[in-house]
């Protein structure tokens, strides 16, 4: 029976269609998987986002001699806010007192540090423990990842007796803190509660800084040496011009990474779209294959029908053939996917050694969805073509 109905079908043609289906679906799966993997890097709310910029004034000779200031006052911040390119801006509050940090035994390291503070909305990852109320002894700090890297990979390896400490181990270790200011001295404790990829600083809760500035420090009106901007698009040339004209300096790399990211996004979308396009074309080819198969077997179909074969039976003979045929590309995709992913992983290893490509289950559902869709399309068209061809005169 199957031989009667399928005997005239060109195997080569079907194989080609199936290969196209494998290529199309694989392309879609790989790009969507890549997108999901890089989502954190590509999305706009992450650490590397190009939507946040830190600006400061450039340091010139006049600053060195104290004739000019690199701080921003409220009017300047208001001006930055009102230029239409910036969604929001806020200055970093700084400490108006000296801060000395002591690691305690056994390393016994002491260093002068500084604190800054800014609203939560500018910080990428805010741990719930990052709060402080008057009377509490321990001050929580969010530390810049960059700062940690400088310490672990820059400073520590050059110092005998100071071990490299993993990020997680450093968390919640209690350090001693010595605050000295115009209004006296205060001994407190501190701990690192989280890391920030976005802000290169040691950030403490605003409540603490306000309290310490007025109770330990001078309590004068604060100025800001650095300002954080929230912008629509950091790679916008108009913004670059504005910053340059006002003598503000920002991290140029971040602007570049912004445009690079756009390119990666564009590349992935184009790749995904091509995959989708191939899938649609393949489904179309599949429909044409069905039409061809039915019209090639028209005489046989009509004969079998006139002998008493039901349309249902004829449909089943052809349909199951197509289903089996479709299972092959589905299996192929699942076999190919780990191989392709391994290839991509090998490629990524060269410049992102710590990145591990993961395959999410959502992505694995895609081939199954396409498979189900094509089965559905086949069923509808096969039924129609079959009726048309058998019942016509």
């Amino acid at each position: 029976m199957v031989k009667i109905l399928w005997g005239k079908q060109s195997f080569f043609q079907l194989a080609l269609t199936m290969i196209a289906l494998v290529v199309g679906v694989s392309l879609m799966v790989v790009t969507i998987n890549l997108y999901l993997n890089f989502k954190e890097l590509l999305s706009d709310n992450d650490a590397f986002s190009n939507n946040y910029l830190v600006i400061n004034k450039s340091v010139g000779y006049l600053n060195t001699f104290g004739l000019s200031s690199t701080t921003f006052d409220d009017a300047e911040i208001a001006d930055v806010k009102s230029n239409g390119l910036v969604l929001d801006a806020e200055g970093f509050k700084a400490n108006q007192f000296d801060v000395e940090l002591k690691t305690g035994e056994p390393i016994n390291l002491r260093m002068e540090i500084y604190f800054e503070s800014i609203s939560k909305k500018y910080i990428d990852k805010v741990p719930s423990t990052w709060t402080w109320r008057e009377g509490e002894e321990v001050v929580p700090i969010i530390m810049s990842t960059e700062f940690y890297n400088l310490m672990s990979f820059g400073f520590t390896p050059t110092k005998k007796g100071i071990p490299q400490i993993p990020k997680s181990l450093l968390l919640n270790h209690i350090f001693e803190l010595n605050l000295r200011g115009a209004k006296g001295e205060k001994k407190m404790k501190t701990k690192i509660v989280g890391y920030s990829d976005r802000i290169n600083s040691l950030i403490v809760p605003q409540e603490f800084l306000n309290w310490a500035n007025s109770n330990v420090g001078s309590g004068t009106k604060s100025t800001y040496s650095r300002v954080m901007l929230e912008v629509e698009d950091a790679s916008d040339p108009a913004l670059t011009n504005y910053l340059e004209n006002n003598g503000y300096v920002t991290n140029r790399d971040q602007l570049l990474s912004g445009s690079g990211k756009t390119k990666v996004k564009l590349f992935l979308s184009v790749l995904g779209l091509i995959g989708g396009f191939i899938v649609v074309l393949t489904l179309n080819t599949l429909v044409m294959n069905i039409q061809l198969l039915v019209s090639k077997a028209k005489a046989e179909l009509k004969m079998l029908f006139s002998l008493g074969y039901r349309l249902k039976t004829l449909f089943a003979y052809m349909f199951y053939g197509f289903v089996v045929m479709q299972l092959i590309p589905l299996l192929l995709i699942f076999i190919l996917l780990p191989i392709v992913n391994a290839g991509i992983q090998a490629g990524l290893n060269e410049f992102m050694p710590n990145f591990i490509l993961q395959t999410s289950t959502q992505v694995l559902l895609l081939p199954i969805t396409v498979f189900a869709l094509s089965i559905m399309v086949m069923a509808i068209f096969l039924k129609r073509f079959l009726r048309l061809s058998v019942l016509s005169d």
Binding site: I4, E300, S306, L307, L311, R387
Partner: protein
């Protein structure tokens, strides 16, 4: 179903040309189960159209065909297929054989629907028709008369109440025609079925109790 009734049936292709003297077209006529009927039909009077209407392959006609109490036009294609499996069998004039396949395979394509004959029975009946030695041969290598006999045996490979013969013996000599008639009579009797023989001329192949002119 006990009878097939034609109620003022006129096929659309011969609507303008059909003869008013016809006993079938435009008239009331019944084909009873178990009755042998001869339909004498000169060329162009709609002989093949009649057999195709009887087995549900054509529906382009005015009037009504009633299968028992059921209007034929209300049946779905699959319901008609069911009737062609167990109620109505037909020996097509154009044979409708798969040329690439052997005589045995062609018969089995029909027989497997109802498993009416065992392979041994098929061989025995083929022997009665004189085509036992040809069963393994591809149909395209057979003569027209041999193919016609394969076709006859294929039509008998199912339960039926009516057997429609559309010029079933046109390529057979007298001796082979008689062998075929003997076999048809034997199996029709077993099925309590009648034949509806459509032919260009009058013939004496079966004991007809009903004679119609198209």
């Amino acid at each position: 179903m006990q009878k097939i009734v034609f109620h003022k049936v006129v096929p659309l292709p011969i609507k303008e040309t059909f003869s008013q003297q016809s006993d079938v077209w435009g008239k009331e006529v019944a084909f009873e189960q178990g009755v042998n009927c001869h339909v004498c039909a000169p060329s162009g009077t709609g002989k093949t159209t009649l057999s195709h209407i009887l087995c549900g392959l054509r529906h382009d006609y005015d009037g009504e065909v009633l299968l028992g109490d059921v209007k034929a036009k209300s049946l779905s294609p699959d319901q008609w297929s069911a009737l062609r499996q167990t109620e109505i069998s037909i020996i097509y004039q154009d044979l409708k054989l798969l040329e690439e396949y052997s005589g045995f395979e062609n018969i089995q394509i029909k027989n497997r629907l109802t498993n009416f004959f065992t392979p041994a029975e098929i061989e025995a009946h083929a022997d009665q028709l004189g085509i036992a030695r040809l069963l393994g041969k591809a149909c395209k290598q057979m003569s027209r008369g041999e193919r016609q006999r394969v076709c006859i045996l294929r039509a008998l490979s199912q339960p039926f109440k009516w057997l429609i013969l559309d010029e079933a013996f046109s390529h057979l000599d007298e001796a082979n025609t008689n062998k075929a008639i003997a076999l048809i009579n034997e199996i029709a009797a077993r099925n309590k079925a009648g034949v509806i023989a459509c032919n260009l001329f009058e013939d004496q192949h079966f004991k007809y109790t009903q004679k119609l002119k198209l």
